[in-house]
């Protein structure tokens, strides 16, 4: 009995004192930025460039002397896109790692899941996910940098209206991004006088979408809108071509990367999508205030890691909004940092020019999105 107790005690003491990533004592000379990203799983193409961007710029800021004379330290974990993991990780970041701010949540699901915690624990949180639900209604401690899915839908419908398209077929995946985008499309379409004549869905791991597209072909739709990310939209594009459907195909900002063009190949030609200006940085007029920032980010990222995507840009924006707020706050008081994030004005980021306010915790207008068309394997402004 005694031996047993001793044995168990030893095991538990060992177990509970193991703290793999960070020292137990919170060193005062550093600013801790906590992050939870989808580094594995289907959304890893979001988390991966986000992490790379954060690491790269934190190194750069530190080599230039840090912020308020303190070094930045990134503490990050992988959610694999799971909401439950995200919740546990955020608790870990707050309770165990004692971070000062949190940047992360590659997917809307993981971001939405942690809102209760950051609100209760009063810690500034900048989300990197798309859903409008994250900042609307406004939550005191929650901000985000990516354009919303609602903005994407609005931008697409604006373009359709210009082309006199009034009947469209919607095809979306079964992920959070897809479903949320679909809901925004269904909600917004009537305001633009657009009727959704087909509403199909697929599984994001599916290998073939010709069945759904065959159904769409049988309708009187004038265009197809696919809200999705990852490999599925590339399959949709290829299947559209295979079936010989000659309707304009619209994609969401979820495919705003070179990877999509590489995967879809010829089938990507003529596809239109809303995206941040980052993709067409060198085609912007020199007078565009964003151009310098965009080229700077793109060149630095591409020199180190290869082709840039807009997703890493969201992390860039979040990091520099945070750093700016900490500088203005002049201390690590969480409430002050939060207030300063909310006062962000005229910040030129990769996603657009941010003007936050107590009513708007994103601070981007519809003009932050550009409408692009894929031509000859690259994006053209339209």
């Amino acid at each position: 009995m005694k031996v047993l107790k001793l044995f168990l005690t030893v095991i538990f003491i060992l177990l509970f004192n193991m703290s793999p990533l960070v020292p137990i004592v919170h060193a005062s000379g550093i600013i801790k930025i906590g992050s939870f990203l989808a580094l594995t799983g289907p959304a890893s193409f979001l988390g991966d460039p986000e992490l790379k961007t954060l690491k790269m710029y934190i190194d750069q800021i530190n080599s230039q002397g840090g912020v308020l004379g303190k070094k930045l330290e990134l503490v990050y974990y992988d959610t694999a896109g799971h909401a439950k993991s995200a919740k546990d990780i955020v608790k870990r970041l707050i309770q165990k790692d004692r971070v000062d701010v949190i940047i992360g949540g590659s997917t809307s699901g993981t971001s939405l899941a942690v809102i209760d915690i950051v609100q209760a624990r009063k810690i500034p949180f900048i989300s990197l996910a798309g859903s409008i639900k994250i900042v609307q209604p406004v939550k005191k401690w929650v901000f985000k940098t990516p354009h919303t899915d609602r903005m994407a839908a609005a931008k697409i419908f604006e373009d359709m209206k210009k082309r006199h398209i009034t009947r469209i077929a919607l095809i979306t995946g079964n992920g959070g991004f897809d479903k949320s985008g679909r809901a925004q499309c269904l909600d917004l379409a009537p305001r633009y006088g657009i009727k959704i004549v087909a509403d199909e869905s697929y599984g994001n791991a599916d290998t073939d979408m010709t069945t759904q597209l065959t159904k769409i072909r049988a309708t009187d739709a004038q265009a197809i809108l696919n809200f999705g990310f990852g490999k599925a939209p590339a399959i949709v594009a290829k299947n559209v071509k295979q079936l010989g459907i000659r309707l304009p195909l619209y994609e969401s900002h979820g495919v705003a990367s070179k990877k999509f063009i590489a995967l879809a190949g010829d089938a990507a030609e003529g596809i239109r999508l809303p995206a941040a200006a980052l993709l067409v940085a060198d085609k912007l007029p020199d007078s565009d205030p964003q151009k310098k920032v965009l080229l700077g980010y793109r060149n630095m990222y591409e020199a180190k890691y290869g082709p840039v995507s807009t997703f890493g840009g969201h992390a860039y924006d979040a990091l520099f909004i945070t750093v700016g707020a900490i500088r203005r706050a002049g201390c690590l008081d969480k409430a002050k940092i939060r207030d300063e994030i909310e006062k962000t004005k005229g910040f030129v980021g990769t996603g657009g020019i941010f003007n936050m306010s107590p009513e708007d915790h994103l601070g981007l207008g519809l003009d932050a999105f550009k409408m692009l068309e894929i031509r000859n394997g690259t994006w053209e402004l339209i």
């Binding site: 599984g203 791991a205 073939d208 069945t211 490999k231 590339a234 295979q242 590489a262 995967l263």
Partner: protein
Amino acid sequence: MLDQLIQFLITGITVGAAYALVGLGFAIIYNASDVVNFAQGEFVMIGAMSAISLIDMGIPYGVALAAAVAITVCVGLALEKFAIEQARDATVVSTIIITIGASIFLRGMALIVWGKDIYAMPPFSGEKPIHVGNATMLPQNIWVMAGTAASVLLVRYFFNRTATGKAILACSYNMKAASLVGINVRKMLLISYGLSAGLGALAGILIAPITYITYDSGVMLGLKGFSAAILGGMGNPMGAVAGGMLLGLLECIGAGFISSGYKDAIAFVVILMVLFFRPGGLFGSAQAERV
């Protein structure tokens, strides 16, 4: 309407053919060793990924495909040698956990080797759609169907006509008796794992040009392959093939005529119904429990 139906059938048969090959792999291993190998889907992924990497390295297309199958066969052999054989006395549930562990391990390995990127593979012969009435298919669809048909026939021939194939069948009926008549049971087990892995790799190579491959693509295909094998009747290789085709068709018909969001649910409801009325699968023999 008829054009639509033809299109659904083409898609269903292509998707089903891939499930059939994976299901066939399940059935062969199950036959030889009573183990359900949940790492079967990972063979598909490894086959496709290796092929894509080798092609990227500039190795001629045909050689790359053959080498990819060979690599996957080696993985299959290693799995048998280092995991299954070591756990000979394990119970059914333990072997399930071992093969699930193996599938996670192989996925982890793929993550390190290939990263999280999405990979595309050039098709065997062009991308010009072929028209069948108003329906269309890609040359690759035909490759998938033909490749599956050829492998199924070969597997059939192997088990029915060759001495080795018959020896494996003997093991599946009674391992002890098989070893008594001089069959090297361990070797037969190795051969079955190699064969299953090879079929998995083939499935991966055939469908990779139609879809895309990531390190975790094997999960879904493995699941569908297992469903196919069960639907057809575990331990009946041709049943697994039929089960796979049926599953592919069910999904496409379900998506086409009922609801694309619920297509997988529809397929599983049908499988459950089949099992409720035929507890041994469609073509499986009724099970007798050992007392």
